[in-house]
């Protein structure tokens, strides 16, 4: 009796020790991220909530101000709703065009038989262009009057739009810039398209399916998780759109930039304002950290909603893994 209990006890304590060692090992391997998560994610997130209820200008100590920042942002801050509308516009128009165009270019590249590598590289390169450089290039290309695009359009006899200088054309111009940098989507779609089993195409062809029917009933169902993935990541990207509209607005308005320069955000006529720009405007130009945190939290809520979509299986990220 006693020997049996002793043995099992020893086994159990051995097991516990092993488990403890394993937990220690996990913590050790995870430690960089555990620290990073606490210091650069959890702490600032909680602080953002805290500051959203404070009046704080960076000089006088923060003072509790109740819901004042919230009502200011939603009711009195003249940039909030235009930014919200623009973000919605970008989410709907830019994302759907990017997905359709990305899929189109992905399909095209799988069909190209001669010089595939060259074409693929050429299609991919714009994706690599640094956003500031790409936006400055497009601000130049689309510059009304002297820009090459307008020069060509006028030679062909099409009236050239004002692009980044016209509130009706500034968002389409941003969309054009986004379509130019489609390289990542093209690669993802290409990989997905090549994974579609060829037998299914052959079977469909035997059944007399037309090219459109093959796309509709074979290709699309097979790549739908990737389409979902592209939509959701696209939405998250569109919501975070910051550098491109900011630079485009600044270059088009001819503002001379330097430390502490004040500029009217969202030139022309607030048409290129996005939510992330408001955080900068409120926090670092107006020194109203509290209201900036309110906008930050709106942005946070939106991004988490879409991230939750992404984490569902249909969103293309299979997390269970093994």
């Amino acid at each position: 009796m006693s020997t049996i209990t002793l043995a099992s006890k020893r086994r159990r304590s051995g097991l516990a020790a092993k488990r403890g060692k394993r937990a220690l090992r996990t913590v050790a391997f995870m430690s960089p991220w555990l620290i990073g998560f606490a210091v650069f994610f959890a702490y600032p997130l909680v602080s953002t909530v805290y500051f959203s209820f404070m009046h704080y200008d960076g000089f006088k100590p923060p003072a509790f101000s109740g819901a004042k920042n919230w009502t200011y942002v939603f009711k009195d801050y003249p940039y909030f709703w235009p930014a919200m509308r623009n973000t919605l516009w970008l989410v709907v128009v830019m994302v759907s065009l990017r997905v359709v165009f990305g899929l189109g270019v992905g399909l095209l590249i799988t069909k190209i038989k001669t010089g595939t590598g060259v074409f693929r590289t050429l299609f991919y390169l714009p994706y690599l262009a640094p956003p500031v450089a790409a936006t400055m290039s497009f601000a130049f290309l689309l510059n009304p009057g002297t820009g090459p695009v307008d020069s060509i359009l006028e030679k062909v006899g099409i009236p050239a739009p004002g692009w980044f200088n016209d509130p009706n054309w500034s968002k389409p111009a941003l969309t054009l810039l986004a379509l130019w940098g489609i390289g990542d989507l093209m690669v993802i779609f290409m990989a997905a398209l090549l994974d579609v089993p060829t037998e299914q195409y052959e079977a469909a062809e035997l059944d007399g399916a037309s090219a459109w029917q093959r796309f509709r009933y074979v290709t699309l169902p097979n790549i739908s998780p990737i389409v979902m993935f592209a939509v959701v990541t696209g939405v998250i990207q569109a919501m975070q759109c910051y550098t491109q509209p900011l630079i485009a607005g600044k270059v088009a308005s001819g503002v001379i930039q330097g430390a502490g320069t004040q500029f009217e955000p969202g030139y022309p006529e607030r048409s290129t304002l996005t939510l992330p720009q408001l955080v900068y405007n409120l926090g670092f130009q107006r020194f109203d950290y509290g209201s900036a945190c309110v906008v930050a939290l709106v942005l946070f809520a939106l991004s988490m909603v879409f991230t939750a979509f992404l984490m569902r299986r249909r969103g293309g990220l299979d997390l269970a893994g093994d």
């Binding site: 997130l45 953002t48 640094p130 500031v132 090459p148 330097g258």
Partner: protein, 297 residues
Amino acid sequence: MTQVLERPVRLKSPASPAERTARRRALLEWVAIHSLGVAAALFFTLPFVFVLLTSLMSDTQALSRDLIPHTWEWGNYRKVFDTPGFLTWWKNTLVYAGLGTVLSVASSIPVAYALAKFRFRGRNLSLMLVISMMMLPPQVIIIPMYLFWAKQLDLSGTLWPLIIPMAFGDAFSIFLLRQFLMTIPNEYLDAAKVDGCGDLRTLLKVVLPMARPGIAAVALFQFFYAWNDYFGPQIYASENPGAWTLSYGLESFKGAHHTDWNLTMAATVLVMAPVILVFFFAQKAFVEGVTLTGVKG
């Protein structure tokens, strides 16, 4: 002799009408697809071409509607390099991108390994939190982070607030590496364990060599992230021109030379060129990385 024998004999049977229409159709399709390809290639490359051409124009011609330079002003590029600060931006960008890449890759590897290969309670939750961090717009937490670095640690006007956090695992790198490590069969790890390797040894001697393509992809992404970053330097370095990076400096360059499109485009070319050069040397790693984000769940 053998060559002649092995050459396939071509039977010249007259093509039936059905065959001929099929062949004609295939040719037509080839032409259609490749014309579409050329059209797309023009859309993707012409912006580069016009930027390059303008960067070689004289000051006055850059303001005209001309598309092709009359005289090729290669001196524009020298002028850009002679602009005060331009070389400092290069140095700063290399420090930020180089040091940041090394730190974030080194700190992300063990985390990704644990998430891919250890079984522990809270693993899925950790992974979900990693993805949430990855999707978090940097603006959400910038106010407390700025106050922390600038007011408490007095580090504004430097790039350290951007570099130091990279030593604590980057969510995107962790996620990507984890996806990559999932594809390495567990048998290799078990074999290493049977041979008496501890966890750290297994990671260093067995897993890392196999994960080289994944690590290369992640390193490239990190490098380009820092190279392209505008928001970070704008927040922390804008007050001190000695700490500006290329992406941030480029915009101010446009401000200082607001009428000189030729010089601005030359500077733009100089900011784009390294990225594109690196891509040509590491094309495979890059494409692999992009595919990993989307496809290999």
